[in-house]
């Protein structure tokens, strides 16, 4: 029995990395704009399908290199995220829309994205072709080079984000706006610009999620909504809006699912994630790291 633990651990690490990235995107925008933005799922879809299109296209330069495909897809997703913020959310925010309305708008945006990809690509499941999977064996576990790449990517992304937040001007401005939107304006920060930049970064993360899902699992129109719920769950576990917490939550969820998945039928894995969210909401809504007064 114990022999499986290392493999379960690695699997948890891989799944956790995917969750951590999307949870971070969500926590980032939540900390700055303070509303639950479901439309990250739309970005996941856009990037995943862009990745599929580019990597399966006939264009010699584009189609050949996996790296180019990834790069294009990530930036496409990030740009869509910025456009979304600039045209859709800004319009509603200018009308002083409540958080409730923005949440609903974000869900609608997701539905639009889902319908569009369905129209353009159909409902069948797509996979990324031409990617060679190299198995790596270490310490009694087996995983692929892609999966290793995902873990490394998560670490790099997290590291970069922390560096940005702690050391760059835009990072400090994001933290200032997240801390006190009004005071940030009073201090001379153009918060609308900060929102746009935040969405660009979050868009990069969400796109990365779409790509990793495309490589690790499969691409189909419904792929993004459950991952979004995972992201929200992870963020709540770590304390809504607290980025290190979201990363922790992502890995926690990934690990827990990996272990649960071994002992229980696969359907209950999903149920577990949601039951966990519920449990946190009842007993510890501020998450593991949030402050009690914050809710």
């Amino acid at each position: 029995m114990l022999e499986v633990l290392p493999q379960l651990f690695i699997n948890g690490l891989i799944t956790g990395s995917i969750y951590a990235i999307i949870a971070t995107a969500f926590a980032l925008t939540y900390s700055v704009t303070k509303f639950i933005d479901f439309a990250h799922a739309a970005i996941v879809l856009v990037a995943a399908y862009a990745f599929f299109s580019v990597s399966s296209s006939q264009f010699p330069v584009l189609g050949d290199s996996l790296f180019t495909a990834i790069l294009i897809s990530i930036f496409t997703g990030a740009i869509v995220a910025v456009l979304l913020k600039n045209f859709v959310y800004r319009a509603f925010m200018n009308k002083k829309a409540s958080k409730a309305v923005l949440f609903i708008v974000s869900i609608i945006v997701y539905f639009i994205a889902q319908a569009l990809v369905q129209l353009a690509f159909g409902t069948d499941t797509k996979t990324i072709k031409g990617v060679e999977i190299l198995p790596i064996e270490a310490l009694g576990t087996v995983f692929s080079q892609i999966e290793l790449g995902i873990i490394i990517a998560a670490i790099i992304f997290a590291g970069m984000l922390f560096a940005i937040l702690k050391y760059t001007k835009i990072g400090k401005e994001m933290r200032a706006v997240a801390d006190n939107y009004e005071l940030a304006e009073i201090a001379g920060i153009n918060s609308k610009e900060v929102f746009l930049k935040t969405y660009f970064i979050a868009g990069l993360f969400a796109s990365a999620t779409g790509i990793t899902l495309g490589l690790e699992r499969a691409i189909e129109p419904a792929m993004a909504s459950t991952i979004m719920l995972r992201a929200i769950t992870a963020a709540v576990i770590g304390g809504l809006g607290y980025i290190p917490g979201a990363i922790f939550g992502g890995y926690f969820l990934g690990m827990a699912e990996s272990i649960m998945g071994f002992y229980m039928p696969s359907g209950f894995k999903d149920l577990f994630a949601f039951a966990l969210l519920f449990a946190f909401l009842i007993f510890r809504p501020h998450g593991i790291f949030g402050k009690k007064g914050r809710v």
Binding site: E173, D179, L183
Partner: protein, 233 residues
């Protein structure tokens, strides 16, 4: 010169300020006093673009800034320290000071030195998160943050609120010091007595309009003393 001309403003449809006109000179300490609810805070917020202006103008150095965005106003020589939530709690003292201003490297250190000599206590707490500061230290940080920009005018909203008498005295001394170093002060205060002591110009507000305004001689006016008998004296 900071001028308000026949300002009528408020929040959404609720009017608070009724036909207020005043002028503040950048060399002076102009003090606005009045009972709770008289609209003092709203006046400062109006100047800083945070209220609905129904009519009238806010003019700064001959430029009409009535319709300007808050963050823009912060960059043209006016700084504002609000009454509550006036520091970024999750940022360090150092980071608070860095906010909202583009600094050239050398310039930044020079300004920091000046600010820290003005507020030595802040230098000790330089790398602490602002939420761990005491009430008095927070007020000082709020003012210091507003001063980093080397503004021509500093708008202060009740900096003494909730502080002990000893710290209050220190704050008022600092305000005088800041003014002596060349910054004009527009001070809104609940603590009328001490505010009037340091004022060059006194404006008394009541129900959203100006009840009276004048120079230091207002301190002895019977009506003014009557207004504040029983208040914070």
């Amino acid at each position: 010169m900071l001028e308000l001309k026949n300002i009528n403003s408020g929040y959404e449809k609720l009017q608070i300020i009724n036909n207020v006109s005043l002028a503040a000179s950048p060399k002076e300490i102009t003090v606005i006093i009045g009972p709770n609810g008289s609209g003092k805070s709203t006046l400062l917020r109006t100047i800083f673009g945070m209220c609905n202006v129904y009519s009238g103008n806010v003019v700064y150095n001959k430029a009409d800034i009535t319709k300007m965005q808050t963050y823009g106003i912060a960059r043209i020589g006016l700084s504002y320290s609000p009454q509550n939530k006036n520091v970024f709690g999750t940022l360090t003292v150092q980071e608070n000071l860095e906010m909202g201003r583009d600094f050239v490297e050398g310039e930044k250190t020079k300004i920091e030195e000046e600010i820290f000599s003005l507020f030595p206590r802040l230098k000790e707490r330089r790398f602490s998160d602002a939420r761990f500061l005491s009430g008095g230290e927070r007020q000082m940080l709020a003012m210091a943050r507003a001063l980093m920009d080397k503004p021509e005018f500093l708008l202060l909203d009740e900096p003494s609120a909730g502080l002990s008498p000893k710290i209050m005295n220190e704050i008022f001394r600092k305000i005088v010091e800041i003014n002596e170093l060349g910054t004009g002060i527009l001070l809104v205060e609940q603590n009328a007595k001490q505010a009037m002591e340091i004022a060059n110009k006194i404006i008394v507000m009541e129900n959203g309009s100006i009840a009276m305004q004048g120079g230091r001689e207002l301190r002895n006016e019977k009506k003014v003393r009557h207004l504040f008998f029983g208040g914070v004296v």
